[in-house]
Symmetry: C2
Subunit: 315 residues, 2 copies
């Protein structure tokens, strides 16, 4: 008991005793068993479960980096959960990770299975839903309004005089956020009197190559499309390369718009029309709010990090 007090620096021991204890710690190479501590007090671990759809998407690795950096600086650890864009996978992961008594959870997306929601509520631990802003979160939400970002892009393209619109995305739709963007985009086009002639949903991950062949597919089936909005920058860059290879001029023959502003944009010889989002900030803010709740403070339930439309040379 005295040793326990010394190691926790709780006070109630003499300097002489402290030295004796520390000497024994040194001699035995003693490492505390944190499992026992958690068990004894029915406390939480210092684990924070973080679910993301997949790691292939650069956007989420930035979010994850923001989360982990912040957590580590407050002596917490990230337990990873890759949901593969499947709510069922997420539910299984939530059940498993909860049995390990995490200090909190960060989930990507606002959609969960009913049982997952029930598990989360009865676990009653701090929770942040990130990415697509949830105005009535289970506990807390950090992200941006994807519908609005799609809507703004639609309006911007309309203002540039386009009338026939296309969209290319994939079924790897992180937490339905890309679908929200598409819905916003479609709504803007409808409101503005344009025509969304074709929307393509590839069964692939949203990377460079799907952007490349997705553009080929879309243009061959609908050559009159004037501008294409892509699920993200990587796909848009793939599209630009396809157009260059086919001698299709941008923006004279076709307009290209991406989403997310990824690092590669900094070295491209053209300025991609895109939507800038501070991914790292989403992760940091989510972790910050979670840590506040964990330490018993209050944190804002809804944090909108916003977005910024970047008009480039590609439309």
């Amino acid at each position: 008991m005295t040793a326990s007090r010394v190691l926790r620096e709780e006070g109630g021991y003499s300097e002489k005793t402290r030295l004796t204890v520390m000497a024994e710690v040194e001699r035995l190479g003693y490492l505390p068993n944190r499992i026992a501590t958690v068990f004894s007090g029915d406390r939480s671990t210092t684990f924070v479960g973080v679910s993301i759809p997949d790691l292939g998407n650069e956007v989420f690795t930035h979010v994850l980096e923001g989360i982990d950096r912040k957590l580590v600086s407050f002596n917490h650890q990230t337990v990873l959960g890759m949901t593969q864009h499947e709510l069922g996978e997420e539910e299984n992961w939530i059940e498993t990770v909860l049995s390990w008594k995490p200090a909190g959870l960060i989930l990507t997306g606002r959609a969960h299975t009913p049982r997952a929601v029930q598990l989360l509520q009865s676990a009653n631990i701090p929770l942040v839903e990130i990415w697509d802003l949830n105005s009535s979160p289970i506990d807390m939400s950090v992200g941006l309004n994807h519908f609005d970002s799609g809507y703004d892009m639609g309006r911007f393209l309309l203002s540039k005089g386009y009338a026939r619109f296309g969209y290319v995305g994939t079924s790897h739709d992180a937490a339905n956020a890309a679908t929200s963007r598409l819905n916003g985009y479609a709504k803007a086009i409808e409101d503005g009197g344009g025509k969304l002639t074709r929307q393509l949903c590839l069964n692939d991950i949203p990377g460079f190559y799907p952007g490349f062949y997705g553009t080929e597919q879309l243009l061959s089936s609908d050559p009159d499309v004037e501008v294409i909005f892509f699920q993200n920058d990587n796909m848009a860059i793939g599209a630009v390369h396809f157009c260059q290879a086919q001698n299709i001029r941008i923006p004279e023959d076709i307009g290209i718009a991406g989403w997310g502003e990824l690092p590669i944009a900094s070295v491209l010889p053209y300025r991609l029309t895109t939507v800038q989002v501070n991914h790292l900030r989403i992760g940091q803010l989510a972790a910050e709010n979670l840590l506040l709740k964990i330490s018993g403070d209050t944190a804002s339930a809804v944090s909108d990090v916003g977005f910024r439309l970047v008009p480039g040379d590609t439309v």
Copy 2:
């Protein structure tokens, strides 16, 4: 006790009892406390600590994805550790994560602090060192020989007739592997009678933009360089874009070589000279070997996944 037996499907109970127990489980919404299980038997958790230098580097996110997918399919979870390329950070993380009784560890790199090695040895749990192959690992090693890959690139470039060589890398050198590549490259050049006129080490992350301005720096200080080997493909692609912007012809005026074959290569209008490495495979194999050891089987101590030099159009 009977409930415990039912839930573990251990046998030694009647069907009638099983149903009674399961009904109570349902009624109470009972979730087992895995912490107690670990504590009771002085067992391990199902956590596997995975340390990687940083998440900004696409290469490691692929490795991590390979690891996590495999672990999840065997009911284990990844506990992330970002070491920021600092052995001290790694040591701190190892100490923390060990106190949570992980089932095993996967560490990127073969270099560790003496105290870290001591902690790892006394923890006596399955351990895989990945990335730069360690022929005498603490426990197991999965990766490739980075020195050899650099050496092969050097020899290949010599065979193309180059005589004045450059190198551009960064101080974010994941587990010293890039330095091994540089050493191999330098050795090949020396052996072949070429000249490594300049090696640049930028204080930045090895991304597109550092490749861009690193090339500018190197060429302005040493305009006679004939070919440049980059730390990775992203930097090499940044270099290609710099050359395009400056109307420097590739490969006529300068040769460019990358390393790692990243996804963007698939849509480039040219074929980048690079070294192909199966990053996902490294992660999968590391997790596989670790899980074998965890379940009490034996696994090979050293697994070389190899590499393949890809002669492209850029030299």
